[in-house]
Symmetry: C2
Subunit: 478 residues, 2 copies
């Protein structure tokens, strides 16, 4: 707690790694590459889960629980799928004291199990659509660990749906991308760009992968959620067929979509500053921290009485409040500690505030005097929620301005090479998979997406010189 | 759906196995012993989670996320722990295309990982208590699978806490047993008996195991939740020490407590009848199902209008409502289908009900005409929640009467042998572990617990003839 952070501008990577530990979000597990999400980090994840789960249910999905173990042969049924995931698999070979006849894969994702189940559950067009979501963890063996961004096991949700027609699957794929976009923008204050992945960046087994891309505080991109149209690839691999209204057997069309604890990394790197985290109020574990200030015993009782009264009013108004009444720490230490943890609003209250019936509010997103104001204790039940809304909106505006200030339109490869080192480059693109690889080798930047929002018309590809019908966004990425 | 169930009284075991599948609660996964919890079953689990999570947070606990992989050597540090869990372990030996230096255990429970983490996190008495809970799944290799009761992987919560004194750990162990008891009685309408396990039935590594025991509809017992006082066993195995206020190093005292998807089995087997499930209203995924009845097109619009209006009123009143508007099924089929799934209250509405401004209510817990009443549509927003409360209370009363009617006090082994085949036997007990094993061999009944509620005084043990200070409950168990 209250450890000295390296400045974000000096060493972004070191700042991130120190902050995740210092702010008590997460810790390393003893098995290589594993992560412990500590209570403060998990509370953030619970709020993310709640905001997403509401949206999933509002669009007709129900949650389910699928096993973590997949027979190895299942992975092999979809050729691209096994090719994509093979290098990262963890295998259970022994159980109950015996060697297993066939190794079990610890799920890296559940399309194969879902395919197997859907083939049993779907008989008729009346059984469709199936709209499922799973909250679980998956395992993909990682050698270079970075908490929340790359760990051997990570937490996520994976949606899985089956439909009678391509059009319905296409609608679902886009609808869930809209859900992710709405969540990122309006809950996390992260102005993501919804787009489509190039062929080379698609999910292993998908016909189309849509994504949301976010810009981090160092100008790099972070893929923050994906939605896949799986076509009939898994339907054919797992023989998921239904009898249509004309009594003809048809293969279903499936989708899958996921968002993970990686998103916590996006929140940290989008909003954080030299003093630590800045939590968007709508997702913050604690929206308000109250710090009572007193020296003498008679001051203490008056201050704590006011704190308790205001705490009750705020809780009643639906505000998540933490009272820091630790009696072995100075107020200054507590300010630093809660700034590090990114609580959006601090309330300081001392004997003079009690006497004057006021309380000092300090905004986390505006450091120093500019973010402080003394307000009457009378209407905090209205004033604090309103101020939290303002903070939320200001954080989104600030992140949007930063993203726009660091997004460049390039027409030549020379411009591209220079600008892509400090942000997103948007440019006409007609290259293929090999071209993308060459760009990556020469600039370290990758094709992030074709944004759904396109200018229309045509342009000249900065790399191949060919006529292009779509612009792409490139960036160095996490 | 609507498959023919064998009567519960004819073959309880077959009734259970068929019902779990027919009611769409769960299915078998492809890997041996694994379970898919289907959306209807998962919605029940989510309501269980919500009811418990509120209670955990109200008693000061926070959730966290711990890895599923444990280095094999960790298990070996606590001697009784490894002895207890070794036969059931699943081992990851290969990952990322290579053989691992040390196998990883897929967690059977997380005391060892928690011990390792606490040893890093705890320095001073000011860091205590630590009050954590994890929602996850664990793996214990099972050869005889029974959905919800015995599967290789199951879902649960595991609480883990560390305290400065034995007294605090004891308080916590008892407090969480109280939480489980309150949950079982007041949310699930299951009149559990809180008690203490005998030495032979303790958790591997615990000084004391408390439990709640429930009686199923066939008179057998189901252990439905456990709370362990781990003493300093794990604190010493993992060197969890703190500096006390006098600057002396002390080992902490730890507890753990868990309740799993096994509890869904308890709900099924406590309340179900020949027609299927009966869900307690407070946990039911759907508390009310509305079945519109019509033949002609003009009837349909009037009926559906009334259904939608009442649905909106009930949702506004906080009732979980399902409207069954499938147009290819008869009302009679739907009645059977929702009876199978145990929805506590059915609302039937046809053209004549619309004309008379009434609606027919049918209670799931009282079959046939006795459970039906026609009521005015006017005040269903008050009437339905009140009726759900009555159903909840009646279900608890019925289960309590059944339990009491099947609980016997035995003073001789002959009485014991006869009565223990059809219910619980409560008797003075002074036997040891070997005596318990002999009773089990001869009667198939096991020592379930020493109930916390004791008559006081002394009695004569029915088996050893020794003087006993406590009564125990024995039963055949799941």
């Amino acid at each position: 707690m209250a450890e000295k952070l390296v400045a974000r501008s000096v060493d972004f990577n070191e700042w991130y790694n120190t902050l995740v530990l210092a702010a008590d979000l997460a810790d390393y597990g003893p098995a290589r590459g594993t992560m412990i999400v500590k209570p403060y980090g998990w509370a953030l994840w619970e709020n993310i889960q709640g905001a997403l789960d509401r949206r999933f249910k509002a669009t007709g999905h129900m949650n389910a629980g699928f096993p973590m173990f997949i027979p190895y042969s299942f992975l092999q049924r979809e050729a691209k799928h096994v090719e994509g995931f093979s290098p990262e698999l963890a295998l259970v070979t022994h159980a109950g004291g015996e060697k297993l006849d066939e190794p079990l894969v610890v799920r890296p994702t559940s399309e194969t199990l879902i395919g197997h189940a859907f083939s049993k559950w779907v008989q008729s067009y009346r059984d469709l659509p199936i709209l499922l979501n799973l909250w679980n963890s998956v395992v993909r063996w990682e050698l270079r660990t970075k908490l929340f961004l790359r760990t051997t096991e990570f937490y996520w949700q994976e949606g899985h749906t089956a439909h009678a027609t391509w059009a319905e699957a296409d609608f679902e794929t886009r609808q869930m991308l809209d859900v992710y976009t709405d969540f990122a923008v309006n809950e996390a204050a992260i102005p993501v760009i919804p787009g489509e992945k190039s062929e080379g960046e698609r999910f292993a087994g998908a016909d189309q992968t849509l994504c949301i891309e976010a810009m981090m505080g160092d100008g790099r991109a972070l893929q923050s959620g994906t939605s896949h149209n799986l076509g009939q690839n898994f339907a054919k691999a797992f023989d998921i067929q239904y009898l249509d209204p004309n009594n003809i057997q048809q293969h279903v069309w499936t989708t899958s979509w996921g968002l993970s604890t990686r998103f916590i990394g996006a929140i940290i790197m989008t909003h954080g500053d030299d003093n630590g985290l800045i939590m968007p109020p709508r997702l913050a574990p604690y929206q308000v921290v109250m710090v009572p200030i007193y020296k003498k015993e008679e001051e203490k009782s008056a201050v704590l009485a006011a704190v308790q009264r205001m705490q009750a009013e705020l809780v009643e108004a639906g505000v998540r409040v933490k009272v820091d009444d630790r009696d072995n720490l100075t107020p200054g230490f507590k300010y630093n500690d809660w700034e590090l943890r990114g609580v959006p609003l601090r309330m300081e209250i001392g004997p003079r505030d009690v006497a004057n019936n006021v309380v000092m509010l300090a905004r986390r997103d505006i450091p120093g005097r500019d973010g402080k104001q003394s307000v009457s204790q009378e209407n905090i039940a209205q004033g604090v929620p309103a101020l939290l809304k303002t903070i939320q909106a200001d954080m989104l505006a600030k992140a949007t301005k930063f993203r726009d200030d660091h997004t460049y339109e390039a027409t030549t490869y020379d411009e591209f090479k220079e600008w892509v080192q400090s942000g997103f480059v948007r440019a006409w693109w007609a290259g293929n998979n090999a071209d993308e690889k060459q760009v990556q080798t020469e600039t370290k930047a990758t094709h992030r997406c074709y944004p759904l929002d396109q200018p229309g018309g045509e342009g000249i590809c900065f790399f191949t010189g060919k006529r292009a019908t779509r612009q792409a966004i490139f960036a160095r990425a996490y």
